[in-house]
């Protein structure tokens, strides 16, 4: 009912109209595609990031939809560069293309400037792409991707650990701790209560899993969650099965 495309289109040059026609505006001037994608994220699996002075810990819930599913093939935490990792929630396909973009950006920066890309700049690069989903070259049928991702980060050689959240709308914020996805409301409240500045990496690992456990529908075990960290010493690293078992074993039973 708010299909204003032809009316809008008349006021723009041909080139701009591609962009305008691909999107639909609400009376407030918002793009429905963006609004939908923001909602869509709330349906995605929960992902959590916690920044400490020693490094950043990322954790995600893997939804194991079938007992026949090979859980190791569910990839929701990925490496962007040695010093940057990313956990995502929402449409994996969209997230992958953004991760690809971020990786290229990071390598290109290292090639051109002989230094690692800053986490904020990396997040900005991802957000630049987020908005471009709405104006793909063919124009007509393009859809603003419902995608959500949160690059979580790390430290540069001399930098401090940082955690950023990038929204599908193309805006981003820096957080000490952030939860996204279907369980984000409860998880964020939990993080708010538990977070403090003097957390260690081990504290953060437990906090992430404990929080995930509270919001997950399935019973948390070493197979349906995944952890990764970015530290000065070891860079980005996804935890091995043994390390996962160790952290899960550390959780208080209830």
């Amino acid at each position: 009912m708010f299909m204003a495309r032809s009316e809008y289109g008349k006021f723009f040059s041909d080139r701009l109209r591609v962009h305008v026609e691909g999107s639909t505006f609400s009376p407030e001037g918002r793009l429905f595609q963006v609004e939908y994608s923001l909602e869509a994220i709330k349906l995605g699996s929960t992902a959590i990031g916690v920044a400490t002075s020693e490094g950043v810990v990322l954790g995600v819930e893997k939804r194991v939809t079938s007992t026949l599913l090979e859980t190791s093939s569910v990839e929701k935490i990925v490496e962007i560069d040695r010093h940057i990792g990313c956990a995502m929630s929402g449409l994996q396909a969209d997230a992958r293309s953004m991760v690809e973009h971020a990786r290229v950006e990071s390598q290109s920066h290292a090639f051109n400037y002989n230094e690692p890309l800053r986490v904020e700049s990396c997040t900005q690069a991802i957000c630049d792409l987020a908005l471009r989903f709405g104006e793909s070259a063919d124009g007509e049928e393009s859809i603003m991707s419902p995608l959500w991702r949160r690059p979580a980060h790390c430290r540069l050689r001399r930098g401090r650990p940082q955690l950023y959240h990038a929204e599908p709308s193309g805006t981003f914020y820096r957080y000490d701790a952030k939860a996204i996805g279907s369980g984000s409301e409860g998880a964020q409240a939990e993080l708010q209560n538990e977070y403090h500045k003097s957390l260690t990496i081990a504290d953060a690992e437990t906090l992430v899993l404990k929080t995930l456990k509270q919001v997950m529908e399935e019973k948390l075990d070493a197979k349906n969650v995944q952890l990764a960290s970015v530290t000065k010493e070891r860079g980005f690293r996804i935890y091995t099965d043994e390390e996962m078992a160790e952290v899960v074993g550390r959780l208080p039973a209830n």
Binding site: F111, N112, Y113, N114, E115, R118, E120, S121, Q124
Partner: protein, 263 residues
């Protein structure tokens, strides 16, 4: 014969962008395109103890002619304003002046964009690598320029990076570039890097001990650079008129113009 040659004496293809087609005995005509000119001049850069000094003469030539007696070759790079008062990098260019100017403008624009994108000034190390990629991107139609980049590294030590026209680069203690580079470089080797200086009485042949190297103090480098240019002016016709010297320290950049022989 060369159509726009500013140097009728040489009468060669060296200084012209376009030549009249040459008629040949076999009836074919040969066309040529010479997009480069050598504008002469010389630059010197020395990294010292907590500073880097970049110097260049200000004469611009075409063959035996002088275009101008004041065309600076050393530039401030990476400031956030057009006055470059907060610049943290120096660039000297010598060779083809138009390419040098274009290269300077491009590097400066890139430094400014970097500031916007990453919220911090570029380090000399980052800028050095970027300059290398800029030059190599024009590998098959190069900027005809010998560039030297100077500044302070992350430990506030003087840093000098030297380049060939297609982007090979190296961090060094000192470097001379341009017309009189072959006159000045051996002098710097000896006076800055103490090449061929041995400790007296330390032995003979291979037993000789080299004099230990250390970054030079600024007062000494100032004298060294002025002497180097005075000598070059004496023996090279493309060098002279005035000496532009820039010194970068943690307190900023100072610039001086000193007289050189104008003959």
């Amino acid at each position: 014969m060369a159509m726009f040659s500013q140097n009728p004496v040489l009468d060669g293809p060296n200084y012209s962008f376009a030549e009249a087609p040459q008629a040949r005995a076999d009836g074919f005509r040969e066309h040529r395109f010479n997009p480069y000119t050598d504008n002469g001049g010389t630059t010197v850069a020395v990294a010292g103890d907590g500073f880097a000094m970049m110097a260049g003469d200000t004469r611009s030539t075409s063959g035996y002619s002088i275009n101008t007696r004041f065309a600076p070759k050393v530039f401030k790079i990476g400031g956030s304003t057009s006055s470059q008062e907060d610049a943290n990098i120096l660039l000297s260019v010598v060779g083809f002046a138009a390419d040098g100017e274009a290269l300077k403008e491009r590097l400066d624009a890139i430094c400014k964009m970097y500031r916007y994108r990453h919220g911090k000034p570029m380090t000399v190390n980052a800028c050095a690598k970027r300059l290398s990629t800029i030059l190599y991107q024009k590998r098959f139609f190069p900027y005809y320029v010998y560039a030297i980049l100077g500044g302070l590294d992350e430990e506030n030590k003087g840093a000098v990076y030297s380049y060939d026209p297609v982007g090979s680069y190296e961090r060094e203690q000192c470097r001379a570039g341009g017309a009189a580079a072959s006159l000045i470089m051996p002098f710097l080797d000896n006076q800055v890097n103490f090449k061929n200086q041995y400790i007296p009485g330390s032995g003979v042949g291979h037993a000789l001990q080299e004099r230990e190297r250390a970054p030079l103090p600024r007062s000494e480098v100032e004298i060294l650079v002025k002497d180097a240019f005075d000598s070059a002016v004496e023996r090279h016709i493309e060098v002279g008129d005035a000496l532009q010297v820039m010194v970068i320290t943690k307190d900023g950049i100072e610039e001086k113009i000193l007289p050189l022989k104008r003959d």
